[in-house]
Amino acid sequence: MLLQRILLGLLTLFAITLIIFLGVSMLPGDAAEAILGQAATPETVAALRKQLGLDLPAHTRYLTWLGNILQGDFGVSIGNGREINEVLGTRLYNTIFLAAFAACIAVPLAVILGILAALYRNSFYDRSVNIVTLSSISTPEFFVAYILLLLVSVKAGWLPSLSNVRVDTTFAEHLEKTLLPALVLTLVSMAHMMRMTRAALINLLSNAYIEMATLKGLKRFRVIIHHALPNAWAPIVNVIVLNLAYLIVGVIVVEVVFVYPGLGQYLVDAVQRRDMPVVQACCLIFAATYVLLNLIADVLSILTNPRLLHPK
């Protein structure tokens, strides 16, 4: 079954490369026109297209690219001729670093708050945690970011206002510089996970076996942790994984506000300049992230569910 999923994932990735290629080809203007901008004249555009190999037919370019990808070579950027593998490495590391950092804060926090919300359902605590998390998820990321920046960085001076990490940034420095964006991401991603934890638990609490556990005199906390939670993991894990995917692929706005050199900014720059190989590489990474995380979600659902683990 796992093998089948992996093969399907690879097929999805292949389809995505095709869609991206066609999509970017359909965008008005190509790399030559984007590079020349206002300076584009018919002759200079033609000359640059020739230099960049853009005068070749689309299918030839696509197949060449696909061939290289299969050998693990993303090629070079049309814009500046740099090896994409090299840039992608640091950018991907930065993106995953920030996502992991945010997840380390957001996931435990969301699950604990969610459990407590289910435990004290309809209490003052439940209502206020819902209001706070829902407000922060409903506020645009950049706004949350600006508010935090103003309070924590500009007024109090506790944390740096820029997250401009470099290759030579140490791990500790990296943590310090990304704490603020990680907090922003925590605020905007927590509500989803928290509410799913709460909903999944409450859903189970109406089941007969929970009633049984309660009737035999177990403490409510114990009922939730030992009896309800194991059966609630599947939907919670799904939502957590979806949010992890978001933390990796959807944080361009936060990257811009904090000047963080992640993959999102790289992709947007590349789309603006019609730098096809870079766009393809970034999209492929993003798509692979989704496919992989979904696979992990499925595996985890199976692991947490004895019925799926031992099918008979």
């Binding site: 965008l27 008005p28 203007g29 030559a32 026109e33 984007a34 590079i35 020349l36 901008g37 206002q38 300076a39 584009a40 004249t41 018919p42 002759e43 200079t44 555009v45 000359a47 640059l48 020739k50 230099q51 950027s77 049309i78 814009g79 500046n80 001729g81 740099r82 840039v87 600006y146 920046l149 960085s153 500009v154 001076g157 740096p160 206002s161 820029l162 401009n164 470099r166 290759v167 811009v256 506000v257 904090f258 000047v259 050199p261 900014q265 790289y266 720059d269 590349a270 789309v271 603006q272 300049r273 730098d275 870079v278």
Partner: protein
């Protein structure tokens, strides 16, 4: 002809805080900073102090930026080039054209021949000595059929480049051009080290700073070149240039002391930023202007009465006060700014006049007019808002102006020069000839309103070859009048360059307005407080 005293244009370099600016403009009853109309800051250090680390943040810079001068498209790499490389000539902070890598230059028999004598003993950062061959190889990359350079059309008038010994370069032009040396001050035409007529490295130059690190879209690091042939600049020991695209992030970086200077401060928030005690706003009059070119080859814009009606239907004062918050000056439907040398000071300022616009419409045989104007905020801050304002103003003239917001992406390839009417802007050009040739001459690819005026094109060629300044002035003045009253572009305002800096940097008395960040030469012209 010795050109060392050739005053190409007289930039008004305004140094004033927002508050002083309001006082000054209020007192004179004008909303723009006219040349020479500013209060100089009181304390200026006598001699620049050496050393220190300067950090500059600017908007532009993309992760796909290249150091190949052929693909020099972002301001980040352009500024990098002006620091690391040298051009034959340069536009000094006061707007004069000065020889730079060339020790001097002069015309031959007439202005179609130019002779440049290079500084002797100049070395590149890698130790290689500069010779005429490097100059020829660097410039030849931009010429010829296969060239994909943005400067190709500007320098196609060069018939040949030859050397006379190791330190003399001779240019032969197809037509005489008095302003030719100005073109050679462009960063794209920087002189790079060559081997056997080929340029292979782009990060080694003979400029005042050596490039230590460059990460496209993020930062570049510099160290002072101890062997520089220039002694009148480069005071800070090390510098870094950061790309911070988000304007709030840029302001935060300055306020929290992460950087010392920022460019492109939003006009709408500059006043608020200036209230911070550690921050000084610096406002510089520039040649940058905003245009709305109509395609004069398409109806209804082929009728000059329609064009005039539209030119009379925008309230320029309101646009300057609201969109630009006063950081700019009024446009008079021609691209020559008060900062230019031959600015026509006697041309009457066009004002908002709906009645006259209606009269023009009647002349065109129309009782009302409906037109679409395409715009995008990627051009400049407030572009779409300007169009919306324009549309309100035009109602009084019986014109239905429909603002059409188009995607940011691909604006220059799909909207500009394609749509019948769209928004555009120019960073301006240092000379009248360059500006008119590129944006308004009949043959130019960038003639954005497809405008063909015989008298104008005749004058353009005549002025280019004219050596007598008075006669040239007359011609350029007439050309400004013709553009104002016939061309397809509504040019409503000139925008200032607004920067902000902390108190630990010292700003020289003169700040250039030809480009942002002191003509992109801030790093070599400013210094740190001792």
């Amino acid at each position: 002809m010795n050109n060392s005293n050739n005053r190409i244009f007289d930039l008004a370099n305004s140094r004033l805080s927002r508050r002083k600016f309001l006082q000054a403009s209020g007192a004179l009853g004008v909303a723009g900073a006219a040349p020479g109309l500013f209060v100089g800051s009181a304390a200026q250090a006598a001699a620049p102090s050496m050393g220190g680390h300067l950090r500059i943040a600017m908007v532009h810079g993309s992760s796909t930026d290249s150091l190949d001068p052929i693909r020099l498209i972002s301001s980040h790499t352009t500024k990098l080039f002006y620091s690391v490389h040298s051009t034959l000539t340069e536009i000094a902070a006061d707007g004069q054209l000065m020889p730079l890598l060339a020790e001097s230059y002069e015309t031959g028999a007439d202005p179609s021949e130019w002779i440049f004598k290079l500084h002797s003993g100049v070395t590149f950062h890698n130790g290689k000595s500069l010779t005429a061959d490097d100059v020829i190889a660097s410039l030849n990359r931009h010429r010829g059929e296969d060239s994909a350079s943005s400067m190709k059309s500007i320098i196609e008038g060069i018939e040949s480049i030859t050397k006379d010994g190791d330190l003399v370069v001779k240019f032969k032009l197809s037509t005489p051009s008095v302003d030719f040396p100005v073109v050679l001050s462009d960063a794209v035409l920087s002189i790079l080290p060559s081997t056997d007529g080929k340029i292979e490295t782009f990060d080694v130059g003979c400029g005042p700073y050596m490039l230590e690190a460059f990460e496209p879209g993020q930062y570049s690091h510099y160290r002072r070149n101890p062997n520089s042939y220039l002694s009148d600049r480069a005071y800070v020991e090390t510098a870094e240039l950061l790309t911070i695209a988000d304007s709030t992030a840029r302001q935060n970086a300055l306020v929290t002391g992460v950087v010392d200077v920022i460019s492109d401060v939003d006009a709408s928030t500059a006043g608020l930023l200036g209230r911070n005690d550690n921050v000084e706003i610096l406002n510089v009059t520039s040649t940058q202007h905003f245009t709305f070119p109509m395609r004069t080859d398409l109806p209804p814009f082929d009728n000059n009465d329609v064009r005039m009606a539209l030119k009379l239907s925008i309230d320029r004062d309101v646009v300057l006060d609201t969109i630009l918050s006063g950081y700019g000056s009024l446009g008079n439907d021609h691209p020559i700014s008060p900062a230019n040398r031959f600015f026509n000071t006697e041309l009457e300022q066009r004002v908002y006049d709906p009645e006259k616009a209606k009269w023009h419409l009647k002349q065109a045989g129309m009782s009302n007019l409906k037109v679409e104007l395409s715009a995008s905020d990627s051009l400049y801050e407030g572009c779409v808002d300007t169009v919306v304002l324009f549309s309100e103003h035009a109602k009084a003239s019986g014109i239905e102006l429909v603002p059409k917001q188009v995607p940011d992406d691909g604006y220059w390839s799909d909207v500009w020069l394609k749509h019948p009417w769209c928004a555009s802007y120019w960073s301006g050009r240092p000379t009248e000839d360059w500006m008119f040739t590129q944006g308004y001459s009949a043959e130019s690819n960038w003639n954005e309103s497809y405008w063909k005026n015989d008298r104008f094109n005749e004058l353009l060629l005549a002025a280019r070859a004219e050596l007598d300044d008075d006669k040239r002035r007359q011609m350029y003045w007439e050309m400004q009048a013709i553009t104002r009253d016939d061309c397809g572009s509504v040019i409503h305002a000139f925008g200032d360059h607004i920067m902000a800096h902390s108190h630990n940097v010292v700003v020289p008395d003169q700040v250039a307005g030809n480009w942002d960040l002191d003509g992109f030469k801030l790093m070599q012209r400013w210094w740190m407080k001792a």
